[in-house]
Structure formats: structure tokens, C-alpha cells
Symmetry: C2
Subunit: 370 residues, 2 copies
Amino acid sequence: MSEPMDYASAGVDIDLEGSAVASLIGALSKSVRAPGTPGAPVDLPGGFGGLIEFGDNLLALATDGVGSKLQIATALEQWGGVGIDCMAMNVNDLLCVGAEPIAFVDYVAVPKPDPAIHAALGASLAEACRLARVTLAGGETASLPGIVTELDLSGTALGWLPKGQAITGEYLKEGDVLIGLPASGIHSNGYSLVRKIIEHAGLAYTDTAPFDAEHPARSLMRWTEGAPTLGEILLNPTRIYCDPVVDLLNAAREGETFSISDIHGICHITGGGLSNLLRLHPSLGWDIHTPLPVLPEFAWLQTAGGVETREMYRTFNMGMGMVVAVAAEHAETILSWLQERMDGVAIVGHVDNQGHRVTHAIEGVEFSHY
Amino acid sequence: MSEPMDYASAGVDIDLEGSAVASLIGALSKSVRAPGTPGAPVDLPGGFGGLIEFGDNLLALATDGVGSKLQIATALEQWGGVGIDCMAMNVNDLLCVGAEPIAFVDYVAVPKPDPAIHAALGASLAEACRLARVTLAGGETASLPGIVTELDLSGTALGWLPKGQAITGEYLKEGDVLIGLPASGIHSNGYSLVRKIIEHAGLAYTDTAPFDAEHPARSLMRWTEGAPTLGEILLNPTRIYCDPVVDLLNAAREGETFSISDIHGICHITGGGLSNLLRLHPSLGWDIHTPLPVLPEFAWLQTAGGVETREMYRTFNMGMGMVVAVAAEHAETILSWLQERMDGVAIVGHVDNQGHRVTHAIEGVEFSHY
């Protein structure tokens, strides 16, 4: 291969996206809702979830879609996991501010309503609600033949937390311990690059995976028998971290052995990979010296696409979907607590004070911009 | 013209949409959130907004998109109103359950990010937040070249109300007075039919409107000088009814001259037109004997498309975007209160008990199914 593949060459222009979003945000004005009234905005760095005041509590909203992962689901007519992806992308963002997700609404856009697709989405959303422990409080199905050529699925999650207990990153400090939570697969980011690599490799999604997909910290959602297909691995639903993270937050708030003030930061590793950590604090650094095992699909994608290692870690979760930064003195207690509830949780690194950057056990995997 | 146009012939199969949505809903299970806990669902007929428990209050979510009206905005590269449409479709639904909208998130899907579109959307959403008095608590811009061919815009609104004060329709009774609130135009429903009629008429959206667009109860958002163009009329933003309806709800809850128990039902007239009224009660009827003036664009569309009158009232708002059903003994007080705050508000009819149907001053405009 002459040119290594990267996310930009797969058709995603991150700079253009950034300037488009900046244009939208720049046109917005201050909220009309006065401080102290229901709905008044609460400023928080990182921006994983939008927080608003509500009496003695805060409410949080997160909105996101499944993105181009849907194109693989549609190509295979397998929509059983995409409701879980849609839920996960939203509720995992809410967890990052310390909110407990409580409700969800979905938005489905299709060229033409199709009861088979909708039944599959309904089943997938029902399972997602169970995993995230939320109420499906509504939804919209739009038929837009002039706008969409195939299924688009997005959603919005609502969460809450007691006022004064948001996880803001303000207590992060040098020496804090980073606990990594394993991913179930590629989750819902980087699929433009994934699709380009599969195409380049001349493989079909129905082909048996050309690698061993076994990994102790995840199971696959299967619809074929025998060895897993590429499609089954690529469509494995995004992990929903409500269990155990909501329980961790509640245990911390009850404060028997550790308290909410020991949980200094929570990061959902989405598009941008490890560089998402930089969103949690304006000056501290993040040293991932003992990363979680890389899931086999990432190793294969890197080789098949000739993707540079740094680009892999800037595009994909590489096996770690969430990071919890905790006070060093309670790290072992919190680690054990999490390990009892989820396989594959481990200490992956520390917060340092040597500049606003992410470093990694692999030399060259370093980020100083989100 | 040989065949009169209708909504179905414009490519919208309402039955298919209904069965697709039924498939999705049928696959859903009961909420995992127990009664009395934050997020537990609250059953309510009508289904305008999804209500959940939250301590001494209820929270409501509504999610909806702008639909094919966006195709006209994109054709004209005029996105200044679509943020208002998106907001209106959601917050107006929240008002129907008696909720005050407090926050909003937008979801933008584009084939490729375009700072010009995003700046226009940002300005439009900022104005929408001002009109609806909500905080923009987040948003997502997705680049989906394989799924969308042009802009899709949807959003989710969050509202709240004190527990026990939801407008459920349970107090509706024969003799209740229907107060109509004027529409600003076509709002955001029926655009598949609108676009088909314009095409059939051989007109361009940039053509001067072939009718007098003046109407005392609305103003137009303009971007040309001289006589209004068809595009300016068709894209006029959906009216946001927060002012005066939130204030009406608050005045009623304070209860100086009328109380919240006098407001028996609120109906957002969306797709389905007047048949939306049937969603408010399982058995009562709705007699619209003194309708609001029809906006000139509806009269022209009907003639140009050869659309049957009943079909017009089942597809469009016909000049009335919201209906408030109130106790007869306080109807004049509430009417005056609303008239002081919005031009064109009037008593349009009464609730009757002669079957579950909508009747209208125009014979044949009658609906017994939503």
C-alpha cells in the first residue's frame, strides 16, 4: 500500500467539522433563563453533557447519533444492536458529569417506513433501556425520502444529579489514578475509516473474520453460527457503562468507604480516542502507562489499512471505552469495587503535571489537542 | 386536473407510518424504573409529550424534526427559520401536557459540514431559544455522506410541571369552550404535498406569491424586498406558543381569576390537522363552528392542487396552530387574557358529547380517527 489510511482520507474532515460547529455555537447567545430558575445553564468544562439547574438538583441532556456504523447495519439488515449504540453514546456522556440517566427519546429518519426495521429498532431500544435503566419517554419516526437514503438513528438522554455533586474535573490532581473500563468493540466511532479499510481489503461483512475475535472482557452479539463474521464483530453494540458507573456514583454518594469527592473525572472515549481525556482539565496531563489489552479487531484494522499507530489511538477506543480518574488514596478500593462488577477493569495510568497532553506506553502515541 | 391531489399521493403513506411505529412500540417493554423513582413513566392519553416522575415534579420530553420543509430551505439556501420550526414542533407539544419548556438540544445531520449552514442554524436556534425561553443545553452535528443527501434537523425539548398539575384531558366535558390560537403559516407539516403542488403549478419558490399574503394575525420572515415570494411564505417559521401559553399556565396555577383546573385540554395542530383533537379524549366530540380565518396560502394551495377540503383540514393547520379547551364559566376571562397577548385569538367552538369526532362549520370536514 502506498499511502497509509487515516480518518481524514476516509472522508471525515475534523477541522471542517470543528469550524462548522464553531459557527453554530458562535451564533448562539446567552441563555434567557436566569440563574437559579429551572433550566438555567450550568457551565462545566469538557462539555460531555449539558447541565441545567432544577431546584436542588441538576438535570443533564446529551444528544448523539449512531453515525456511519448504521450503514453496515443497513447493508446487513441487522439492526438489533444499533438501538444499544444510540443509547450508549448518550448515556455514557451523561455519566461523565456524574449524572444518572433516567429517560431517553429516539429520532428515526428513514426514506420510507419499514415495519421490519422498526420492529428491530424497537427490540434494540427496549434492550438498551434495560441495560441503561431508563424509561423510553417518546420518539419520532420521520419519513424523509428527499433527505435520507437509508436509516439514520439518533437520540437524547436525560439524567440528573444532586446539585453540588457534578463531576467537573476541578479536583483532578497529579497522582490521581486512572482506571480503565474495557470496550465491547469499536463502539460507534471511526466507522468511515472502518468501512474504507474493509473495502480496501476486498472483504465482505458476511465473511468470517480473518482473525481470532475472542477477548475475555467482551461477548459478541451473534446472528450466525460458527466462527464470527466481520459484520458481527463490527456491529457489536457499544458498551453501556451505567452498570457499574451509576452504582459507583451512588456508592460514592452514600460514602461508606469512598466518597463522591474521590471521583475526580470520568471520560467517555469516543471520536478523538484518548485525546478526549484533554477535555477534562485545562492543564494536567494523562499518562496511560499500562493500557488495557487492544481488542483484536483494532490490530487487524491497523494492519489491513496500514494505519499509523497514533492515528488508531486518535480515532478508536482501542479497547478502553471509559476512564475513571480517582484519588490515589482510594484507588485500590474503587478498583476492587469496579472489578467485582465488570471483567477487565484495571489501573491504566496516572494524572501528571507535565503539560496538557496524553502520553501512552507506546512511544509516539501522544496528544496535546482534542 | 384529472385527479385531486392528496397527502398520500404526495408520497406519504400514513398507514405504513402507523404500522411501522406500532412495530417499534410493540417491541418495547415496560420501563425498568419503578413508580415513585426519578424517571418512572407517567401514563397520559394523547401522547404529545412523554412524562416522567421527578420528585415533587414531572418532567416531559418531546422529540421531533422539521421534516421535508427543510428541502425548501435547502433549495433556497435560507435556513434562518428552520431552527424556530424545530423548536416549535417540540415545545408546542410540551405545552399540551401543561409543561413549561426549559431546555433544548438539536441534532443536525449533513452530508458535509458547511460553516454557512451552521452559522444560519445557530442564529435561528438562538432566536428560537429566545422565543421559547429555553436554554440550548447541547447539540450534535453528524456528517453522514452515506445516509443524508442534504440537511436534516431535529431536536428534543425538556419541560417540567408540578406533580398533579398535568393537563390530561380528564376534566374535558360537554360545553367546554375551544379557544383557537392563530398559526403563522403552514408551520412544519404537510410539505410533501406543498412541494408537489408547487411543482405541479410550474412555479419556483423564488416567484412572487400569486396571491395576497397579508394576514392580520401573522408577520412574515422576509429576505427579499417587494412583494413576498412563495418561498418566504412557505418557509415562514412555525409559531412558538410558549408566549402566551406558559404564562397562561402560570397565571392559572397562581389562580387569581381562573385556575389550572379550568384548562381542560391543549392541542397542537400538527400533521393530521384537526383530527389531532381526537387525541385529547376517548369519547367526546369537537365542534369547530366558528373557525379562525384561513391563511391565504392554504386557499391558494387548495385551488392550485385541486385538493379536497376535508383533505386540507386533515393535512394542514388551516390557520389555527393550537387549541385551548377551557371551562365555559371562565372562557371569557381566559379569552380576554389571551387576546391581550396575541392577535387573532378567538372562540372557535365547543366540546360536545355526540360521539368521538370533530365537526366543522364546513360540511364534510369531519373526522372520527386521528
